[in-house]
């Protein structure tokens, strides 16, 4: 068949090669496009459908309406998980952005060992959350880590037991996640700060603005796109955080630090509640959508106006 085609295409060689040239871009993109359509959007649709069934260990396909969603929102662990997401997400995003931004500003003041410091701050990002979680589990373990160390220095009454305190354990997740991500935020901010025209800073100096004023009033407002990028990157990290919880607290004490992703995994793959797991996954998707869609809307609208 191959030889047939080439033979046939000799007189019609030009139109064929023209067609190929016109469509080469589409041809190159097509396989990836197809795979994404199937494995990402196809599976989202499948999960969405399954969430409306009473699937247990194996998926069933009889439509049952919002049964799983009503069940989901009646479960205490799920409500705890959503609350945790809110607390962890907002604290993690806020602290990581503020800390990263301050680090970037500090490094932007022509520090001598900038290259070394930049690497030091950025390195945690190269480590997986499993390692971060394990390391912080040791550091925060009252019997092994900080509490033990300070007590061995002689401060016998010192106590730092957040990891085993069900009220405070969620904050240990914030500490570890901030430690890992703030360097990355710093790198983004530093790159943007380097792009700021140094003459603007000089002009502001002559206008009589103090350094803090220059940053607050002039430079940081121009970094709005970086703030948004950081916000969205950190948001999706927060929503899908799973491995950090597994490594650091295991969702405990009890289920006090469980996150929606852990809940979803537990239901779908351990407790044979595929329908319920699917419903929780859809709720996570909805959370992300609730943040991303207004952003896309405002960005696209702004472009039209600008």
């Amino acid at each position: 068949m191959m030889s047939l085609m080439t033979q046939k295409s000799i007189p019609a060689k030009k139109p064929l090669s023209d067609w190929f040239r016109r469509n080469v871009a589409k041809l190159v993109v097509a396989p990836t496009f197809g795979l994404i359509i199937f494995f990402v959007y196809g599976f989202i649709a499948w999960t969405g459908y399954v969430s409306f069934t009473k699937s247990k260990m194996l998926p069933t396909y009889s439509f049952e309406g919002f049964y799983q969603y009503i069940r989901l929102w009646k479960m205490t662990p799920w409500n705890v998980a959503m609350e945790n997401l809110l607390v962890f997400g907002s604290l993690f995003i806020l602290i990581a952005i503020v800390l990263g931004c301050l680090l970037a500003i500090a490094l932007d003041q022509k520090v001598r060992a900038e290259g070394v410091l930049r690497t030091v701050y950025l390195y945690p990002m190269a480590i997986s959350f499993i390692i971060t979680g394990t390391a912080w589990k040791w550091i925060l373990n009252p019997g092994l880590g900080i509490q033990n160390l300070v007590q061995s220095w002689g401060w016998e009454s010192f106590s730092f037991d957040w990891l085993i305190n069900s009220e405070m354990a969620i904050y240990t997740l914030v500490i570890a996640a901030v430690w890992q991500s703030s360097g990355f935020v710093m790198a983004l901010f530093l790159a943007a700060l380097r792009g700021v025209d140094s003459e603007i800073i000089k002009a502001a100096y002559l206008d009589g603005a103090s350094l803090s004023r220059i940053y607050l009033v002039i430079i940081l407002p121009t970094l709005r796109p970086v703030f948004l990028s950081c916000f969205f990157i950190l948001t999706h990290m927060a929503v899908k955080s799973f491995d950090l919880v597994v490594a650091l607290t295991g969702g405990g004490p009890g289920y006090s630090t469980i996150m929606p992703a852990n809940f979803m995994y537990e239901m779908t793959f351990r407790r044979n509640q595929i329908g319920l797991g699917a419903a929780s996954a859809m709720m996570m998707l909805a959370t992300v959508m609730a943040i991303v869609i207004p952003y896309l809307y405002s960005e696209l609208r702004e472009k039209k106006n600008g």
Binding site: K202, A203, L206
Partner: protein
Amino acid sequence: MASLSIQNVKKSYGAIEVLKGIDLDLEDGEFLVLLGPSGCGKSTLLNMIAGLDTITDGEILIDQNVVNDVHPKDRDIAMVFQSYALYPNMSVARNIGFGLEMRKVTKEDREKRVDEAARMLQIDHLSDRKPAQLSGGQRQRVAMGRALVRDPEIFLFDEPLSNLDAKLRVEMRTEIKKLHQRLGTTMVYVTHDQIEAMTLASRIAILREGEVQQFASPQEVYEKPANMYVAGFVGSPPMNFVPAAVVSEDGKLGVSIERTANGNRSSVFLALPDDRQDVGDWIGRDVILGIRPETLTHRSDAEISLNKGLQAFDCQVEVLEPTGADTLTYIELGGREVIARVNPYNTTAPGETMAFMVDMGKASLFDPKTELRI
């Protein structure tokens, strides 16, 4: 308004000396242009006047007060930057008023002054726009408005026109000149463009490798350049440099130059005017004769009879470059290419010999070794 005095100012970055002792004195209301190629230290000097750069040695005085350790905001100066340096997130009006805002001027007063400055620069209809929505020329005006509204003692300009297109540059140049005439404020202007320097300055300081080559009025810089560097930097097309020998012929002092005419190579004697008898010590020695293209043109006997400085000679024409008003005529004198400005109706075809005259009264002589003016 204020006088400005720069006394033996030096600047080094480590072992590299950028400014090697600059001395400049500026009267109240003068327009100083710092002219030089990139890397000559002119912008560094401006930054030091502004207080954005530290002074390694020497003193800068504004109104007889040493300002070496005075914070930029307390020097009462305003600066216009090359990139305009507008605050991108602020409206035009707030950009202009920001300096006043920082100086705690009341809102009413501020609005009045911003409005005044904006109207003077014809940007009052743009006050709500952001810098990104402005054209290059409009940004330039906003940058000037920001300086203007502060009503400073001294204005500093750091190559403010170099990012504009040619037409706009000429327009804004005139605008700056008008501004100086109206305000009468002392201004310091940095540029590498000699036409900007000539048109704007009341005095020009030509810098090269951190040293002042000449500090004089534009006319003096043009007519009596202190050395060959200044002579070559100022003027377009640049001054012609012709190797010549100082000789005495029939009791008259002059220079002898080699050239080709009617197919023969020979020397021609060009007498120097009587007031150049100081060159007497140079008889028999080589010099460089500097001739501006417009003082070298086609021969006119009527003019020669009126001006004793004019000397005639013949020379073969190499190339013609018509520019409309004049035709640039390339000839060869003393082994160097020389440009003459000739009326388009008096030109001769390339390869043929033409009669020229040169105004020796306006010629410069340079020492070939030191390159200094004799």
